[in-house]
């Protein structure tokens, strides 16, 4: 069955369920998967954080009547988007709600939450419902040809990612229709735009035979999905190169590899189970004598929280050791810290040395 028809059908079923409850003079309910780290498990075979199935039931009462009405109206909106193959940014959805008189949203975060709820309700991603984010995906440079389509002529468009000079290819919001060709050996996902710029400027991709992706902090869904497709379609290993701090390790790397707790219902699509952690590791700080900063309070809190609550960390002893080592050292280091030795030290020494021993990478 056509996936969009299937979603439209699901929406209709849910609406009919609500109606029949009302007709039977019962309080209608909607049940959503609970979206938090406590409701996910990690199974290495599947390779992503998966919902455990705890549900949150929203019953229509005096207190919830407003959100309930808003959720249903937004569902109706999604249904018409799916049926007409239209898209809408989250911001646009917020503005459309201004027609809803009393049920309108006052601020965008309110409408975003409702969209996230609906997404979870049907266990699809919001792009499939026709809602697209404003954020852009990330940047790509290196030995990759992306095959897109001209939206007017529908003819294939070949985009050679080696030909952007000092610039880069920008990952679109929806990547499902793209096709790829490559002769690269691996994908290097980089946390900061600054490090990405340095590697692009010196055409590191040519020297190392790779595709460079700039994530710009926590990777967006589109960026994760793009890397995932490179990983699946081209059978390329993916290495992450981020700062050595709890934020780089968990908020960025963990989300890239196994997804997030908040959007666990879509992790299935938006994760890169084959990703490995190249660095910077706590041991690198010692080995490469990197200049450091003391861990901030929030870093320590985040690290402890990861050991205690994160199913991914709990699964890998090597990660627990790495975190404990970091906590013992009490410091953090950024990926730009290699500049202390030489501006291009990272390119000429660190990366080749690490890549020569890819099996040692943290899972």
């Amino acid at each position: 069955m056509n996936p969009s028809k299937k979603i439209a059908g699901q929406i209709t079923d849910t609406a009919a369920g609500v109606r029949s409850k009302i007709q039977r003079r019962n309080k209608p309910t909607l049940s959503f998967p609970l979206r938090s780290l406590t409701n996910v498990t990690y199974q290495p075979k599947k390779g992503f954080l998966q919902l455990k199935g705890k549900k949150k039931v929203r019953t229509l009462t005096v207190a919830t009547v407003k959100t309930f009405a808003q959720t249903l109206r937004m569902m109706s909106q999604a249904k018409s988007l799916v049926e007409t193959d239209e898209i809408m940014t989250k911001r646009e959805a917020y503005y459309v709600s201004k027609n809803w008189e009393d049920a309108r949203f006052d601020e965008q975060p309110e409408s975003d939450t409702v969209i996230d709820d609906i997404e979870a309700l049907f266990e699809v991603n919001r792009e499939q419902l026709g809602f697209i984010p404003e954020e852009k995906g990330g940047e790509v440079a290196g030995k990759l040809v992306v095959i897109d389509r001209d939206s007017d002529t529908n003819k294939p468009l070949r985009i050679d990612c080696t030909k952007f000079g000092s610039g880069a290819y920008s990952i679109p919001i929806s990547v499902e229709h793209l096709k790829f060709e490559t002769k690269a050996k691996f994908v290097l996902a980089i946390e900061t735009a600054g490090m990405f710029q340095r590697l692009v400027k010196h055409n590191y991709w040519r020297k190392a035979d790779c595709i460079l992706v700039s994530m710009g902090g926590v990777p967006t869904r589109a960026c994760r999905r793009f890397i995932r497709r490179l990983s699946d379609d081209l059978k390329l290993p993916v290495y992450a190169f981020v700062d050595c701090d709890p934020y780089g390790m968990f908020n960025i790397y963990r989300t890239l590899k196994v997804g997030s707790g908040n959007a666990a219902h879509i992790n299935q699509f938006f994760c890169v189970p084959n990703a490995r952690f190249l660095g910077v590791t706590p041991q690198d700080i010692v080995d490469y004598e990197l200049p450091t900063h003391p861990l901030k309070e929030i870093d320590i809190k985040r690290a402890r929280d990861a050991i205690k609550n994160d199913p991914f960390v709990q699964h890998y002893k090597s990660w627990q050791d790495a975190i404990n080592q970091l906590l013992d050292m009490g410091v953090r280091a950024e990926q730009q810290a290699f500049a202390v030795h030489d501006l291009n030290y990272v390119m000429n020494n660190y990366l080749p040395e690490k890549l020569g021993n890819a099996r040692q990478f943290l899972p």
């Binding site: 007709q23 019962n26 009547v65 249903l72």
Partner: protein
């Protein structure tokens, strides 16, 4: 120019009596001289020639010089200089005080004579700017001809000072002070017409007060026709300012009407409008009985004076007859406790023995003073008064049992009106009364206000900022009835802070607060439920719209859903 002239003439008239009565010439000279020296020395610090100061030493006055300047001060002179003590600080207040004194006297007289008071007040502008003719007319018993001059043109002359009985007036200053104020500011005498019975003619007096002697001066005295059964009319022309709103004549009359529902008042304003305050009760308040002083309220000096003045022949009978709540048995006990024979003559009691007696009285446990000297308004009439003048949704009234401060019985009453057309975002309005007389000035100095702000109104579902009056659509009236209301000044504007009084007021406020909170809470609950209902009604249609869109329902199916949903939620609410 005109202004300068008037000030000049004023100083002249003021100076005139001085020259007349001044001491012999020599004395006058010294006074002048010494004044001159003072001026010089005062100049010196800023002056150019400090040498001259050294050469002219000040001549000090001798005891003889001083003796020549020392003389008796008349009460009238004293109060003419200190008129703010009596409530004549400024033209606005002077107008109010004048009317207040007149109306208080009228009401006291009517009630004592058992007549339902009909009072007419009129304020009409005179030709000169800021001058008004105030007329207060009543249907009271009238005043005997011989008494009229003293009552209206002699300060501290009256019937109410020496007795212990609840009444509006106390000292016998008010109306004569108003007359004196009119005389000082306009030069016009006070005019009185009074008639004591149908068959007798009315007397018309025009009086001035001789401020040096505190004695009346009769300007005119004639018999005239006045077509009433009995009554009194007072006319005073005075310098004044008429205004509306807070602390105005209108406010005073309105509040008087609230606390005195048996009174009918007619007020002719300077603009020619007639305001009437109708009678809401046909019965006069119960006349308060006069009582003897309670021993606990008497100080040593007073006791000594009473011992000297009494008609009683023995100490025992003196204690029994001149005080309340002392039986012959208790009198004997007191005498024994003081170590004085109960048979001794009161006038022979020495200073030391009096002291012992005083201590013995305070050692002895005595019954509280009798309370039939009080005449509270009563809960029913407070409600009637409030309902007559204030548009509200809820009324309550509390009359406390009588209590005692410093040997004086008193009784506190509280009335409250809430909601209706009262403003909800302002501080509560407090109507203060002492012996049924509204107090309009010095709110913050008053024990009633203190009791209001120290009561925790938040316990009674009202908003209240720290140390402030509660906020809300609320009017609270507090009435203190007593044989002797302890005012903070002679102008009778604020009740003094006796702990016993504050305690009683707070108890009454708390009781009315409890009743009020029941009403407020019930109303809040109803409003909340109404609000919830409206809230549901706001969003139910949207649920139906969404379902119609998703399930392509008809309009009829949609409106059925709205009905069913409303049903479901309404049921869950209750």
């Amino acid at each position: 120019m005109a202004k300068k002239k008037t000030t000049a003439t004023k100083t002249k008239t003021k100076a005139a009596p001085k020259t007349k009565k001044a001491a012999p010439k020599t004395g006058k000279k010294t006074a002048r001289k010494s004044r001159a020296t003072v001026v010089k020395s005062a100049k010196a610090p800023a002056g150019v020639k400090p040498k001259s100061v050294k050469k002219t030493p000040a001549r000090h006055a001798t005891a003889e010089d001083m003796a020549q300047r020392q003389r008796e001060i008349s009460v009238a002179e004293f109060f003419m200089k200190n008129r703010h003590l009596l409530g004549f600080d400024n033209p606005r207040k002077a107008l109010l005080t004048t009317i207040k004194e007149g109306v208080d006297n009228s009401l006291d007289a009517c009630e004592e004579a058992g007549i339902l008071p009909d009072v007419k007040v009129s304020v009409s502008p005179c030709q000169e700017e800021n001058r008004f003719l105030v007329t207060i007319e009543d249907n009271g018993p009238g005043i005997m001809k011989a008494q009229i001059p003293k009552i209206f043109a002699k300060l501290l002359y009256g019937s109410k000072f020496h007795r212990l009985k609840m009444s509006r007036g106390q000292q016998g200053i008010g109306i004569s002070a108003a007359g004196m104020y009119g005389q000082v500011t306009t030069g016009k005498p006070i005019s009185i017409v009074s008639k004591t019975s149908r068959n007798k003619p009315a007397h018309h007096y025009r009086l001035e007060i001789d401020t040096q002697k505190n004695e009346p001066r009769i300007i005119a005295d004639q018999e005239i026709e006045w077509k009433v059964t009995s009554g009194t009319r007072v006319e005073i022309e005075l310098e004044a300012k008429y205004h509306k709103g807070r602390q105005s004549v209108e406010e005073y009359l309105e509040q008087t009407a609230i606390a005195n529902p048996h009174v009918a008042i007619e007020f002719l304003t300077p603009e020619g409008e007639t305001l009437t305050y109708n009678r809401a009760a046909k019965e006069l308040p119960v006349q308060a009985r006069e009582i003897q002083p309670h021993p606990y309220g008497v100080e040593l000096g007073v006791l000594i004076k009473m011992l000297h003045d009494t008609q009683a022949r023995t100490l025992q009978s003196f204690l029994h007859s001149d005080f309340s709540r002392i039986s012959t048995r208790v009198a004997k006990l007191i005498c024994e406790s003081a170590g004085v024979s109960e048979r001794s003559r009161p006038s022979r009691i020495a200073r030391q023995e009096a002291d012992n007696l005083f201590k013995a009285i305070n050692r002895t446990k005595l019954m509280n003073p009798p309370t039939d000297c009080l005449s509270p308004i009563g809960e029913e009439l407070i409600l009637a008064g409030l309902k007559k003048q204030i548009d509200a949704d809820f009324y309550t009234a509390v009359t406390r049992p009588p209590a005692v401060y410093r040997g004086n019985p008193f009784q506190i009453e509280v009335g409250a009106a809430y909601g209706g057309s009262l403003p909800g975002d302002k501080l509560a309005r407090v109507l203060r009364y002492a012996n049924r007389v509204p107090l309009l000035y010095q709110q913050s100095a008053c024990a009633i206000t203190k009791s209001m702000v120290t009561t925790a109104w938040r316990n009674y579902a009202l908003q209240q900022a720290n140390g402030a009056l509660p906020t809300g659509p609320l009017v609270i009236m507090v009435h203190m009835a007593s044989v002797w209301v302890p005012f903070t000044s002679e102008s009778k504007e604020a009740v003094a802070h006796y702990p016993e009084i504050i305690k009683e007021i707070k108890l009454a406020l708390q009781e009315s607060g409890r009743r009020l909170s029941l009403f407020v809470r019930r109303r809040k609950k109803a409003a909340e439920s109404q609000r919830k209902k409206a809230y549901i009604q706001q969003y139910i249609p949207h649920i139906a719209i969404a379902l119609r869109e998703m399930l392509t329902l008809s309009d009829r199916q949609e409106s059925t859903l709205v009905k069913q949903l409303t049903d479901v939620l309404e049921r869950s609410r209750s």
